[in-house]
Subunit: 199 residues, 4 copies
C-alpha cells in the first residue's frame, strides 16, 4: 500500500466530511415565521458548524503531520486509519444532533447529544493514538527515534484521549462551554506544532 494513495483517500474522506457539515445548515423561507427569526433560532447550527469545521480541519492538519513520518503502511496502520476516518465521518451527524438538541432546548436531550458529540471525538483521538503508535514503532525499530523520545511524543499526542473526555463531561454540565472548548483546543492545535511534527 503506497502512502500516497492512503493520504489521497484520507484527504478525500476528510474533504467530503468537512463539506457535508453544510447540510445541517438549512432554514425554510416561507414556513413558520420570518427568515430572520428562523436564522436566529438556528444559532446552534451555526456555532456547531464553525466548531466542527475547525475540529475536522485540525484532524486533517495532524493527519498530514504524522503521516509524513510513516515509512511502511501495513495492515494494522490501515485498520487504525480506517477507524479514525470512521469516527471523523460521524461528525456531521453528531454535530447536527447536538445543534438540534440545543435548538430544541430539552436539557436531557442536550446532555445525551453532548456525550454523543464528545464520544465521537474521543473515538478518533484513540484511533489517532494507535496510528501514531504504529508509525513511531517503525521509527523506534529503525533507530530514527529513541525510546524516551517516543514515550514523550506519545504522551503529548494522546492528550486528546484525556482532554476530549473532560470536554465531554463539561458538555454534560453545559454544552455551549464544550463547544467553546473544542474551538479553543482546535485553534490551539492549529497554531502549535503537534508532538508529532516536533518528533
Amino acid at each position: 500500500m503506497s502512502k500516497t494513495r492512503l493520504e489521497a483517500f484520507s484527504d478525500g474522506v476528510l474533504a467530503v466530511a468537512i463539506t457535508l457539515l453544510v447540510l445541517d445548515l438549512h432554514v425554510d423561507p416561507g414556513k413558520g415565521g420570518s427568515l430572520l427569526a428562523q436564522l436566529g433560532a438556528a444559532w446552534p447550527s451555526f456555532v456547531a458548524y464553525v466548531v466542527s469545521f475547525l475540529v475536522i480541519g485540525v484532524i486533517w492538519v495532524n493527519h498530514h503531520s504524522i503521516f509524513r513520518f510513516a515509512v511502511t503502511i501495513d495492515r494494522l496502520l490501515l485498520f487504525w486509519n480506517l477507524m479514525l476516518l470512521m469516527f471523523v465521518t460521524t461528525i456531521p451527524f453528531t454535530t447536527s444532533t447536538l445543534a438540534g438538541a440545543l435548538a430544541d432546548g430539552d436539557a436531557s436531550d442536550v446532555r445525551v447529544a453532548a456525550v454523543l458529540y464528545g464520544g465521537a471525538t474521543t473515538g478518533f483521538a484513540v484511533a489517532f493514538t494507535f496510528v501514531w503508535g504504529r508509525i513511531t514503532l517503525d521509527l523506534l525499530r529503525s533507530g530514527a527515534m529513541g525510546a524516551p523520545e517516543r514515550k514523550r511524543s506519545m504522551l503529548r499526542f494522546s492528550a486528546g484521549t484525556v482532554l476530549y473526555p473532560i470536554l465531554t463531561l463539561v458538555g454534560v454540565l453545559y454544552a455551549p462551554a464544550m463547544l467553546a472548548g473544542f474551538a479553543l483546543v482546535s485553534v490551539y492545535y492549529l497554531f502549535n506544532q503537534t508532538g508529532a511534527s516536533e518528533a
Copy 2:
C-alpha cells in the same frame, strides 16, 4: 487511459460513497420521544454504518492491491471498474434500507432488505473478479504470471462471489447474523493479504 487517473477517480468515488454513509445516521431531537430513546431505536443504523464502512474500506484496500499489478488500462478494464464502482455506490442506499427495515421490524421487509444488501455486495464481487481476470490476463500474456498461478489467484480472489451469496442466504434467515458475517469477512480481508497481493 493512465492508471493514475483511474485510481484517482476510483478513490474519489470510494471516498464519497464511504462518507455518504453518515447521511443515514439521523435522529430528530424534540420529536417523538427522548433523544436517548431515538438513538436506541436507531441501533440498526449504527451497526449497519460500521459494517458498511468496513466493507467499503476493504474494497478500497483491495482495489489498490490489485491495480498495482495493472499494466495496460483498456476499455474492458474501464468498463468492469465502472461496474464495480456502480455497485459500491449503491451501498449507502442498501445500508439505509436494511437499517430502516430492521428498525421497523417487519420480518418480510427485513428479508427483502437483506437480499438487496447482499445482492449489491455480490454484484461488486463479480465485477471485482472480472477486473482481476482482465489484469491477470495481461500478466499471463507477458509471462509475469503462470497459468496455474493465475487459476489459483482467480479462485482465491473470486471467493466473494461464493461467500457473499451465502451471507445473503444467512441474511434471509437472520439479518443481524449477515451483518456480523460481513464485518468478520471485512476484518479478515483487511488483515490478511488478498490472493491479489500475494500473486
Copy 3:
C-alpha cells in the same frame, strides 16, 4: 493553470456527481406497503441510476481522453470546462426528476422531465465540443494536427450535439426508449475509441 490541477478538480466534481446519484435511491420501510412493493414501484429510479452512472462514467473517460492532448490551459478552456462540469453536475437532479415523473406516471410530466434530462446532456455535449475545439486549435497552430484532420475530429466528437437532441425527441415520445438509447450510446462510447483519442 496546470493541467494536473484542472484534471484533479474535474475528477473530483465528476466523482462526487456520479456518487450523488445514489441519493435518488430511497425507499421507506414501514411506510405505505411492503418493501418489495416499494422497490418495484421505484423501478424507474434504478433504471435511471444505471443509465446516468454510465453517462457520467463515459464523460469521465472522454474528459481524460481529450485532456491528454491539451497543451496550454487558458481562460477560455477553463470557462468551457466549467460549463461542462455545470451541466454534468445537474445530472443527479435531472435523473431524479425523470425517475419521479416515470414513477408517478403523468404523461405530460414525463415529457417535460425527458426534455430536462436530454437538455442537460445536450448542454454538456455542446460544452465538450467547445473544449475539444479549443484544445485542437492549439494542436492546429503548433502543427501537431492538420486542418482537415481537425475538421474530421470535430465532426466526430460533436456527434453528441446532434445525437442527444434526437434522443431527447425520442424521450418526448417514449421516455424509457430515451434511457435505453443513452445506455447504448454510453456503452458504445466506452468501448469505442473517441475521435479524440484517435486524433
Copy 4:
C-alpha cells in the same frame, strides 16, 4: 505541510461544495401542480445554481493562481485557508436560502437572504485577502516582490472585500440584480488575470 496536499484538500472541498449545489435543485413530480409549473416556480433555484457555480468555480481558479506563488505553508496560512474554505462551504446553504426566499416572495425574507448570501462572499473575500497577504509577505521577504508591487497587488486582490459588500447592498434593494452582479464579476474574473497571477 506540503503545498501539494494543501492544494489537494482544498480542491477536494471546493469540488464537493460546487457539486452539492445540485441538492438545492429538486421538484416533486406528482405533487402540487404540473412538473412544468413546478420547474417554473423554481426558477430562482436555477438562476442561483448557475451564479453560485460560477462563484465557486472562480474561487477555485483564483485559489490555484495564488498558491502557485506560495513558498512556505505555515500555520497562519493554514488557518486563513481553512477560514476561506469554511465560508465557501456555506455557499450551498446561502444559495438555497436565497432561492427559497425568492421563490416564496416575502420581500423582507429576500432582503435577509441577500445579506446572508453576500455576507458569505464577503467572508471568503476577507479570508482570501489574508491568504494572499501571507503569501506575498514571503515574496517580499525573499525579495521576489517589491513593497510597492505588493501594495498594488494587495489592493487589486482585495477588491472583493469592497465589491462584495456593495453587491450585498444592491441585493438588499433588489436581489436578482445582486445575482446578476455576482455572475458578471465571476465571468470577469474568470477571463481576466487576477492581480495575483500578474504579480
